[in-house]
Symmetry: C2
Subunit: 350 residues, 2 copies
């Protein structure tokens, strides 16, 4: 298969981990006889530095022409505590999600048996956890109007959802559930929010089209608790943008390290794959960043193109690396393996 992959390595540890994912994808291409090409482009703080834009037009065009996008991470601390910064790196990420209409962000949460001792949660709660979080990615408070009053004393963010926005991800979540344990949990705050009540109405209607799938509802505060108390109760978790952001980061602790958590962002036409971790400024350039989340994002990319055997090869290689303690220090604190070492090892197993 010929795949042209846009590579938006981004900021902080983004380039380091993405580099390892590309390495592994190249090994897959050569082993399975595919033709993968990689086109780099700038996004985030690195793009602001060069073009004064978080998502330059050139980058967007490269992504639109590509078959898929592999993203590292965006964000730089110099913007975080400056409320007056006119452009922020994160705008690049939000803009590309919107421009490519990547309305569903899918975050699988599982745990390697070997890593159960690393998790902050007790073994009996997490062994066998298998959750797919479906987070709406192009709507809600992330993309509503924002304003600051002229005298700077009142700030406002607007959260809106349309039936159409809810429908498209809901169908995707129910179809996924049909191939899994046939349960969808809608997480919302319907006892307070109008948008949540719309979610509940639309999702309930769509559920009738999938009689083999059970739908249940959970308020977001309770969901944040249940994810830790009893994560095994969840199969597909469906939720809006902001709640999905919070719950999926929270859920990543189950697996022992956010450095292992991958995600796929998909729409009707485009797809983008990225680790759920951020740019982790404090680790930048130290060779301690875990490349596995990025490498597993590359595996999700392959699955998206039905290259299941290729994806499994990567996933197995990752499992072997973990079994052999071939991990960065976020997993085993006394480990001396670098980002590069782990990437090389996984590449060698492909």
């Amino acid at each position: 298969m010929v795949l042209n992959i846009a590579v938006l390595a981004g900021d902080g540890i983004g380039p380091e981990v993405t580099n390892e994912a590309v390495k592994v994808l190249k090994a897959v291409a050569s082993r399975f006889g595919h033709d993968f090409t990689f086109t780099p482009a700038l996004l985030g703080a690195c793009a602001i530095d060069k073009y004064n834009e978080a998502l330059p037009q050139e980058t967007l065009e490269i992504c639109r022409e590509a078959d898929a996008v592999l993203l590292g991470a965006v964000g730089h601390p110099k913007y975080d505590n400056n409320p007056d910064a006119p452009i922020r790196p994160e705008q690049g990420l939000l803009s590309i999600r919107k421009a490519l209409q990547l309305f569903a962000n899918i975050r699988p949460i599982t745990i390697y048996d070997k890593l159960i001792p690393q998790s902050p949660l007790k073994a009996d709660r997490i062994a066998g956890v298998d959750i797919a979080i479906y987070r709406e990615l192009t709507g809600g408070i992330y993309f509503g109007e924002k304003y600051l009053s002229d005298d700077k004393t009142v700030a406002t963010d607007v959260c809106s959802y349309s039936v159409k926005e809810i429908e498209q991800i809901t169908h995707m979540a129910f179809k996924a559930a049909q191939n899994r344990r046939k349960k969808v949990t809608l997480v919302d705050k319907a006892n307070v929010l109008e948008t949540s009540r719309l979610w509940r109405r639309v999702v309930s209607q769509i559920a009738a089209e999938y009689p083999d799938v059970t739908l249940d509802f959970l308020f977001v505060d309770n969901a944040a608790m249940q994810l830790i108390l009893n994560p095994k109760q969840f199969d597909v978790m469906l939720t809006e943008n902001m709640f999905g952001d919070i719950l999926s980061d929270e859920a990543s602790v189950i697996g022992g390290s956010i450095g292992l958590a991958a995600s796929a962002s998909v729409g009707d036409k485009y797809s983008l794959f990225e680790p759920i971790h951020g740019s982790y400024p404090a680790a930048t350039g130290k060779g301690i960043a875990n490349p596995v989340a990025s490498i597993l994002s590359a595996a999700l990319l392959l699955e998206h193109f039905d290259l299941y055997e290729e994806a499994d090869t990567i996933k197995n290689a990752v499992a072997v690396s973990i079994d052999l303690n071939y991990c960065t220090p976020d997993i085993f604190a006394d480990s001396t393996y670098s980002t590069d070492d782990v990437g090389d090892f996984i590449e060698s197993m492909v």
Copy 2:
């Protein structure tokens, strides 16, 4: 001391647990020679059933005339999946918070050593945890405009914050930190939300008035993760209404059961004390609800009036009940002690 306490037992398990708290407060009054009177009033589903209003005027007047309010829980499942219900029980809770201007909800998170084995988290992560969550309670998306378009295809919730709203709770949080470990963590989503950027600006300015207190910042997604990975890093956690709702329920798992988590809601003039758990419909009338969260809320009420010795007496009695396994089944699954048994035991220790 003479205290007139309005008792809003509410729905579900609310009346059962509140009953035990009142019992314990009566024992405190008689032991310490205080004069506590209790005035019941309706709030939530029970008020809708009787008056077709979630917060009847009469209830509000009783609360305004009282020195403090003791609240059970509100909510009934018959409203949760009915997006068209014209009145919902939760409106009663939100209206009373607003009417009494209870702008700060304080949720202490600690763990009894005896209960460390009950927590879903591993012992080394949680032993010694001591967090005070300061959640803004009368602003944000909870109280912004809400609308559904006429054709019911678009729903909207507006989130606003003013400088004044941020200032009042921030001063309270910093003062609390001065009497604790002198650290405030502001949780927000300043990389996306305008309201969060206003929070960051205002809180940073106020921090300068408290040079003995350290301020740091955390994005809400990261905070949801850090609360589980390393809860000991937190002292005072300050945040807006919706994030506080989610994070405080999540944090309650640290202590092993939400059935232990109490809260105080305070403003300049009024105060209200309630467990953080909800109405727990499935447990209603079964005698299995844990009364400790309500009893500890009564202890927070006493502390609010500087009755520290009295509050400590309650807290010690609770600690003894836990030490002796005198707990409802949410704590020890094989326990046969009922709500009433636990309340009686704690009362007897006062």
